[in-house]
């Protein structure tokens, strides 16, 4: 081989503590190195031009650049050597800035270390082989999991862009949490009024196939060609026949069914339609409470249904859809706040969650928009809001801020005053986080125009006074004294966590998730929509807490990623993937068992079985290579021989 080595000064960033000329001089002694230079800035245009010129002049067939982290400039230099006619994988980098010059002051030791890092890069390069990407077709359909506002936005943007969308929603209606809200901050406009039209668009768009009351059961395949199994839950109503007239819900005798849409505030019927603007507006039977399904006698709904849509025999149905990429937009759930004994642990009916309070405020809610407290239906006069219930609380293992509670609490305080002008609202808060557009102004309005009393401090106990009130005892840390408020209703701003079942879905999607179940993006700052699995994108709170504007923005961002991906007819794979040397393979299946991506399959060749890597699925982790005892499966560009060359270079005494 003819290897060229280029040592970057990076101004004084490297040269300050590394003798770059000396490293270059040492590098000339390494096998196959025909040229070693030190350059002021290798990544700058003159530096790259010098590398290109050297490749031509010295007929180099491999290049080592010793400069910053390969995580920064490896792609840059790969393009450089490619421009000069080399294969982009005939290039290695030694990190002598982040790993040498910036962390050590001893110039002699640094120079020696930099030399050795160059030496191992040369050793690896001598084992490099040119690699070529392969291209494959893309199925230009997208699966969107979750039809809250983020998923709806992503679906509509994709559909508008001409992409076929498969939208899967676990609940009977789309709309997610936003559909449950009464009004939205900071404009106090009606949630249903702004979300409703979008929901209708979803139902009517010719490019969108909606599966409500459905869940993703299995995902196989890879970017460009995923195969999805969707379980359509039995609703016991033939939705093709159901017109959403609601006759069944009026006559259903099982009137004590818990109302999940209304956050269990007040009961509903066993057959019901979640809310008037539900999409799809179809009835669903709750099998746990339906008398026909539990006791085998009733059948009232079947009798009253004018279209004969009721089908008590209906079973789950599994449907397969083929798509090219996936957007996860599964949203959130409130954490189980009953761990807080000081707030009554769920024993007091008049301590409600913020989402339950939204339903009490909503005209389509169980109280038809009149605030009535759950215990006795009376109108509350003194309302206490407690913030950060399950947020920023390390004692219960939830150190993160739920992001939007400060804002909706202000909104709920304002709405309370609108509903009950002679009411008084108190807000116990830790800090007010109002950092969005017109957000701080909004919280100030709650305080100044609506007379909400903000008390900076935590609540230590809530207990009933025996006369129908709840005593909220806390501390005002600004005054440094205890406070007690006699409340008629307490609203808890309960912290959010990833939607139930998120880790399970993450495993199906082969993406990572954190200990709260939120999905991990590729890069916190620079790749907030992508995941580490190619072709899987994130939108909304499933990735981390965010409010409606941010969820909508991320929904659109995910759609942009989808449209970008689908703007190409063919995709190229990363050639740094595993491959099987068939003559060495004994078909023991160890690699197949542990591949995290299901990227290895058994194939028959001339009557014998072998392992084979599905090139488009392999992500290049190399777990198989370290699993195969006979070294039959090797990860390109990180082969056993390449890593051994590095180890042997370092350890030879």
């Amino acid at each position: 081989m003819r290897i060229g080595v280029f040592i970057c000064h990076c101004g004084s960033n490297i040269a300050g503590t590394v003798d770059c000329a000396k490293v270059a001089e040492n590098a000339r002694m390494f096998p196959d190195v025909v040229l070693a230079q030190d350059i002021m800035y290798t990544c700058a245009e003159p530096g790259q031009a010098a590398i290109e010129a050297a490749i031509h002049e010295h007929k180099l067939d491999g290049v080592v650049v010793a400069s910053c982290s390969p995580r920064i400039h490896e792609p840059t230099f790969r393009r450089t050597v490619e421009r000069a006619g080399l294969n982009r994988y005939m290039f290695e980098m030694a990190n002598i800035r982040e790993h040498v010059s910036w962390i050590g002051k001893d110039k002699e030791a640094n120079t020696n270390k930099a030399t050795e890092l160059v030496q191992i890069a040369v050793a690896k390069l001598r084992n490099d082989k040119p690699l070529k990407a392969k291209s494959f077709d893309v199925n230009k359909r997208v699966l969107i999991i979750g039809a809250g506002v983020a998923g709806i936005q992503a679906a509509l943007d994709c559909a508008e862009g001409g992409i076929q969308v498969v939208l899967v929603e676990r609940e009977a209606t789309i709309g997610g949490k936003m559909a449950k809200l009464d009004k939205t901050f900071p404009t106090v406009d009606c949630s249903a009024c702004i979300l409703g039209p979008k929901m209708v668009d979803v139902a009517q768009h010719p490019n969108i196939t909606l599966y409500a009351k459905s869940e993703v059961e299995d995902i196989s395949g890879y970017v460009g060609n995923f195969s999805i199994k969707i379980r359509k839950r039995a609703t016991y109503v033939d939705w093709d026949k159901c017109t959403g007239c609601g006759a069944c819900t009026e006559k259903c005798p099982a009137k004590k069914t818990p109302d999940a849409f209304n956050e269990l505030v007040g009961p509903t019927t066993a057959i019901n339609i979640a809310f008037p603007q539900a999409i799809p507006k179809k009835a669903v039977i709750n099998p746990e409470y339906c008398r026909q399904l539990t006791k085998g006698k009733c059948g009232v709904c079947a009798k009253v249904c004018p279209t004969g849509a009721i089908n008590y025999e209906q079973q789950d149905e599994v449907i397969t859809e083929e798509v090219g990429c996936i957007v996860a937009a599964t949203g959130y759930d409130l954490m189980d706040w009953t761990v807080y004994e000081e707030y009554g642990g769920g024993r007091y009916p008049d301590v409600v969650t913020s989402l339950q309070y939204e339903r009490l405020l909503s005209a389509s809610g169980p109280t038809e928009g009149h605030i009535k407290r759950p215990s006795d239906g009376k109108e509350p006069k003194n309302i206490v809001f407690i913030q950060c219930v399950g947020s920023r609380d390390r004692s219960i293992g939830r150190p993160y801020c739920s992001g939007f509670c400060c804002m909706y609490t202000a909104k709920q305080a304002i709405l309370t005053k609108d509903h009950i002008p002679d009411s008084k609202s108190y807000v116990f808060y830790m800090d007010i986080r109002a950092n969005g557009k017109i957000y701080d102004e909004f919280t100030r309005r709650a305080m100044e125009e609506y007379g909400t009393e903000y008390i900076r401090g935590r609540v230590s106990k809530i207990y009933p006074d025996g006369e129908g009130h709840l005593i909220v005892r806390g501390v005002d840390t600004l005054l440094g004294e205890g406070v007690e408020v006699k409340a008629d209703l307490v609203v808890l701003a309960v912290g959010v966590e990833a939607a139930k079942g998120s880790p399970h879905l993450a495993e199906k999607l082969r993406i990572s998730y954190d200990s709260y179940g939120f999905f991990l993006e590729s890069h916190v700052k620079l790749k907030p929509v992508e995941t580490n699995t190619a072709g899987v994108y994130l939108a909304g709170v499933c990735q981390g807490v965010k409010d409606i504007p941010a969820s909508v923005a991320q929904g659109s961002a995910a759609a942009a990623k989808v449209l970008g991906l689908f703007s190409r007819d063919k995709l190229e794979n990363d050639p740094q993937i595993a491959s099987v040397d068939m003559k060495r393979c004994v078909d023991c299946g160890k690699c197949i068992r542990c591949c995290p991506f299901g990227a290895i399959k058994e194939v028959e060749f001339r009557g014998k079985m072998y392992a084979q890597v599905i090139e488009t699925v392999c992500q290049g982790c190399g777990l198989c290579t370290s699993t195969c005892p006979q070294g039959a499966i090797q990860l390109s560009h990180a082969t056993d021989n390449q890593i051994l060359a590095e180890v042997n270079t370092l350890c030879q005494c």
Partner: protein, 482 residues
Amino acid sequence: MPVLNGKELRIVGFLCNWCSYGGADTAGTARAGQPTDLRIIRVPCSGRIDPLFIVKALLNGADGVLVSGCHPRDCHYAAGNFYARRRLEVLKQFLPVLGIDDRRFEYTWVSASEGQRWQHVVQTFTKRIHDLGPAPKLEDPEPLLKVVDMALTSLRPLGTGQKNKLDELKAAIKAKLPELELVIGWQQGYDAARTVPLFMRTPEDVDKLVWGPFNVNNPAVYLPQYKGKKVGIVVKGCDAKSVVELLQENLINREDVTIFAMPCEGTLDMARVNQELGRYTTIDKVEYDEAGVTITADGKEHRFCMNDYAQGKCYGCTMPTAVISDTLIGTPTEVKPGPYTPPELALLDSMSLDERLAFWRGQMERCIRCYACRNACPMCVCRDYCIAESREPHWISQDDSTRDKLFFQTIHAMHLAGRCTGCGECQRACPVGIPILALRQQIARAVGQLFDGYKSGVDPEAVPPLLGYEVEEKNIHEREWK
């Protein structure tokens, strides 16, 4: 390259590209000063790190090896670090048996944002290695030759198996033979005190079958080459475990293999028998009684009581009857598990780290690198493609060096992690009598301790521990960096 003026020690780091390499970058960007000893090798994922890279480094002059990957659950490849955690922990428990201080190897998790943590890890680990000083080289100590003490008490009475129903077994084989290509068993070798493998194709062949304490070979070693053909095999309890492992690894098909089993009462340690017999010209006769064998060689009688001359594995055997069989002749023997450390391992356990290194130096100098250990091993399924003899990949040189010989033994042991049934064929086949079984026994002990007493060769459906993981490992805990 010589380590800088004796100021530095040789520390090799293997870092995953996505988290820890990024964490080291973050530390650099924050100018978080660190000692200069560490040299980082970038790999895609901690799951890519074959524990053998680490042994290779440690045997060849590294004073310390540090592995770092993404935190559990944060793996860029979803599960690579879960697998790595199990393999690296097994390695950590294995190193001391070689005489390598396990403090010289550490693994941890550092995310791309944890620059400070990375600085702390490097500082702490480098200090640890400097406190330990340069690693002793395998060539440094004087060879220490110690002999395994086989004075053992058995978990069960050992015998010669002569009351077994050999004729019934032969009849059963003959009845099945027409459906089978062949049946593997044992026959008398060149004298009555030896057996060799028997491949029965005709009823006359079946008549040659023998049963008793000389049936030392593990016939399972021949099975994979007959994959896809209908074959039979006669097994002792220990041989059956190898059959189970082969089934688990898809190297044979259950429906193709007919297993004939009889309860085993123990087999002789032929190395010690030969030592006692000394040089002789002819075996005049072999007589069996319940407790042992009397061999008359050149007119001289030698009595071998099974309790004194059995193979090491027989003393601790809890499965004398095959765990899996189609035809079982005789009554299964129940043995209660008891406290038992194999004699080879007990010898190593009794030594200090330095003594172990000296021990292996002495033993490896005797190794003639014949690979008989590998060829006799029923779990060495790579056959012609063993990485000990390949260039692609090129793990090991063909030099006659004690390091490479010990490295080969390590390769064999690591490749047997979670697979070795302790049949002891490697050691039995060793022509120079090196107690290499100890290395496999240590691996098996570590696997058992880490993974809820997992024993290989019991359940063909079990997921071998190193091919699986738990998100929360019960017995593996991250060590603190203090």
